[in-house]
C-alpha cells in the first residue's frame, strides 16, 4: 500500500474512530464537564469567600505561577520519588513474603497474625511516629508508603498462590510434571491476576501514604504543598496539589490496567 493510500484510509477511518471514542467515553466526559461547571458556578456564585473554595478556573490559573517558580516540579518530584521507592520496595518485598507464606506452613503460622493484624490497623495513624523516628526527609515517607502498600500485596499474592486450581495441577501431573514445573506452569500464572489486583490496590494506598506522611512534616512534596497552602488559606494552590494527586492516581491505575491486559491476556475478552 502506498503512503498516499494509507493516508486516505486513515482519513476515512478517523470519523469512525471519533464516534467510537465518543460512544465509549461520551458519558464520562459529559459528567466530568458538568461537574466542573457546577463547581465553577458554586465557587463563584454561592461561596462568598475565596478562603473556603477555589473554582476550577482559579486552580488552573494557580498552576502557572507555581510552575514558573519551579515549586510545583520540586513538590511533584519529591512525592513521586517517595511513592516510587516505597511502592517498589513494598511490591518486591510483599510478593516475596506472599510466596514465603504460601509455600511454607511454618512461615504462614509465624507471619499470618502480623499480616492480618497490621493490615487491619490503620497504619497511616503511625505516620507521625515514623517522622519522629526517621526525620522529616523522604525516608520516613518511603516507610509509610511501603507499610501501606505491602499488606494487600502480601495477602493477594498468598491468596492467589493458594487458589491454584487442583484440576489443572492434576492435569500437568498426569504428564509427569515435577513440583517445580507445577509451580511455573500452573500456580504462578493462576496467581498473577490476584497479584496484579494487589498491586493495583496498593497504588491508591501508596498515594494516601505519601500525602498523609507529608502532612505531618516534610520539606517538600504535594502533601506539604497542600498543608502549607491550607495554613495560608491559599485554596487554589491547595487544590493544585489535590488535582495533581488525583491525576497521578488515575494515570497510574489506568496504566496498570493497560499493563495487566498485556501480561495477563487470557483474563478478559
Amino acid at each position: 500500500m502506498s503512503i498516499d493510500a494509507i493516508q486516505r484510509s486513515e482519513r476515512r477511518e478517523s470519523p469512525g474512530l471519533l464516534r467510537k471514542w465518543a460512544s465509549r467515553h461520551g458519558w464520562a466526559v459529559g459528567s466530568v464537564v458538568t461537574g466542573l461547571a457546577i463547581w465553577e458556578i458554586a465557587a463563584r456564585g454561592f461561596v462568598a469567600s475565596k478562603l473556603f473554595l477555589a473554582s476550577p478556573s482559579q486552580i488552573v490559573a494557580a498552576i502557572g505561577p507555581l510552575w514558573r517558580s519551579g515549586e510545583l516540579q520540586v513538590h511533584f518530584y519529591t512525592s513521586a520519588l517517595e511513592f516510587v521507592l516505597g511502592y517498589g520496595a513494598a511490591c518486591i518485598l510483599g510478593i516475596a513474603l506472599g510466596f514465603l507464606i504460601a509455600s511454607s506452613r511454618r512461615c504462614k503460622q509465624a507471619l499470618q497474625p502480623w499480616v492480618s493484624g497490621l493490615y487491619a490497623t490503620p497504619t497511616v495513624a503511625l505516620a507521625p511516629l515514623f517522622i519522629l523516628w526517621f526525620g522529616v526527609g523522604i525516608f520516613s515517607k518511603i516507610v509509610v508508603v511501603a507499610l501501606l502498600v505491602i499488606f494487600p500485596v502480601i495477602i493477594n499474592t498468598e491468596t492467589g498462590l493458594r487458589q491454584t486450581p487442583q484440576n489443572l495441577v492434576e492435569t500437568v501431573r498426569s504428564f509427569g510434571a515435577s513440583r517445580r514445573q507445577i509451580f511455573y506452569m500452573v500456580s504462578l500464572p493462576a496467581a498473577l491476576p490476584f497479584i496484579f489486583a494487589g498491586l493495583r490496590l496498593g497504588i491508591g494506598r501508596g498515594l494516601i501514604g505519601v500525602v498523609v506522611a507529608e502532612l505531618f512534616g516534610a520539606r517538600a512534596g504535594l502533601g506539604q504543598l497542600i498543608q502549607q497552602s491550607a495554613e495560608t488559606f491559599n485554596m487554589p494552590a491547595l487544590f493544585v496539589g489535590v488535582v495533581v494527586l488525583a491525576v497521578a492516581g488515575i494515570v497510574l491505575t489506568s496504566g496498570f490496567v493497560w499493563l495487566e491486559k498485556r501480561l495477563v491476556p487470557w483474563g478478559q475478552d
Binding site: N167, T171, V172, R173, F175, G176, L192, V264, W266
Partner: protein
C-alpha cells in the same frame, strides 16, 4: 495372545479409609484394544482409571503396563479428563504441547506431531487462540490432542464427551474412532452412555458397586470401521439392552441412594 498383552491388572483393591471402592479387580487388556468401562455412579470407574494413570496408588494388588508395575504418572499414558482442563493462560498450540514441554522435548518431530494432531482433531488455524475463545466441543478436542501429543501407548479417557451436546457427542465418537483407527492405541474409555461404549469398543467392562468390582466383560464383535448408522442395527440394540439389564439394578439403587441423601 500372551505376547500382545498391554495392561495387566491383578488383585487390584482400593480403599479410601473404611470405604472399599475397588475390590479384587483382575483382568488383562490387549495391545490396541478399545475398552469401555460402564457402571453406576460411584462404582469406582474414575478411581480405576486414576490408578492406571498413576495419579492414585492401589491399596493392594498391582497394575502393570508392558510388564512393568505402575507407580506414578508417565508419558506412556495419556489422560483425557472429563473437564477439558486446558490451561487458560496458554494458547491451543502450547496447551497441546505441554506434555513434551514437561518432558523437555523440543524436537522438530515433536512439533510436527503436535501440528499433525491439531489437524487431526480439526483445529488447524486455531493454534494461537486461547481456550476461552473455543467452544466446548473444540476444547474437548484439544484435550484429546494434548493426550495424544505425548504419543502414549495407553489412552485413558474419563467421560470425555459428557459435557457435550448429543450431536457434538456423536461427531466426537466417530472422530475418536477415526483417530484410533490411525494409530491403534490401547484405550480405556469410561462412559455412562451404554450406546457410546458399544459403538466404540472391542470389549465393554461392566462394573458393579458396593464394593466396586468388575462384574462382567461383554465382547463387541461388530465389524469395523463403524459408522453411526450401526447404532440402529438389531445387533447393536441387543448389546445395549444386555448391558443395561446388567447394571439396571445397581443404577436404580445408586439413584435412590443419592436422592435419599
Amino acid at each position: 495372545m500372551e505376547a500382545s498383552v498391554k495392561l495387566t491388572v491383578s488383585g487390584l483393591t482400593k480403599r479410601f479409609g473404611d470405604l472399599e471402592v475397588l475390590r479384587q479387580i483382575n483382568t488383562s487388556i490387549g495391545k490396541g484394544e478399545f475398552i469401555s468401562i460402564v457402571g453406576p455412579s460411584g462404582c469406582g470407574k474414575t478411581t480405576f482409571l486414576r490408578i492406571v494413570g498413576g495419579l492414585e496408588s492401589a491399596s493392594a494388588g498391582t497394575v502393570s503396563l508392558d510388564g512393568r508395575v505402575i507407580d506414578g504418572p508417565g508419558r506412556d499414558r495419556g489422560f483425557v479428563f472429563q473437564q477439558d482442563n486446558l490451561l487458560p493462560w496458554r494458547d491451543i498450540l502450547s496447551n497441546v504441547g505441554i506434555g513434551s514441554e514437561i518432558a523437555g522435548i523440543r524436537t522438530p518431530e515433536q512439533r510436527a506431531l503436535t501440528q499433525h494432531l491439531l489437524e487431526l482433531v480439526g483445529l488447524k488455524g486455531f493454534e494461537h487462540y486461547y481456550p476461552r475463545q473455543l467452544s466446548g466441543g473444540m476444547r474437548q478436542r484439544v484435550n484429546l490432542a494434548r493426550a495424544l501429543a505425548v504419543n502414549p501407548d495407553l489412552l485413558l479417557m474419563d467421560e470425555p464427551f459428557s459435557a457435550l451436546d448429543a450431536q457434538t457427542r456423536e461427531i466426537m465418537q466417530t472422530e475418536l474412532l477415526r483417530i484410533w483407527e490411525e494409530g491403534r492405541k490401547t484405550v480405556l474409555f469410561v462412559t455412562h452412555q451404554i450406546d457410546e461404549a458399544v459403538f466404540l469398543s472391542d470389549r465393554v467392562f461392566v462394573f458393579a458397586r458396593r464394593p466396586g468390582r468388575l462384574q462382567e466383560i461383554i465382547g463387541i464383535d461388530l465389524p469395523r470401521p463403524r459408522a453411526l448408522a450401526i447404532k440402529r442395527t438389531p445387533e447393536f440394540v441387543a448389546l445395549v439392552d444386555r448391558i443395561w439389564k446388567l447394571i439396571e439394578h445397581d443404577v436404580r439403587a445408586s439413584v435412590i441412594e443419592e436422592h435419599a441423601l
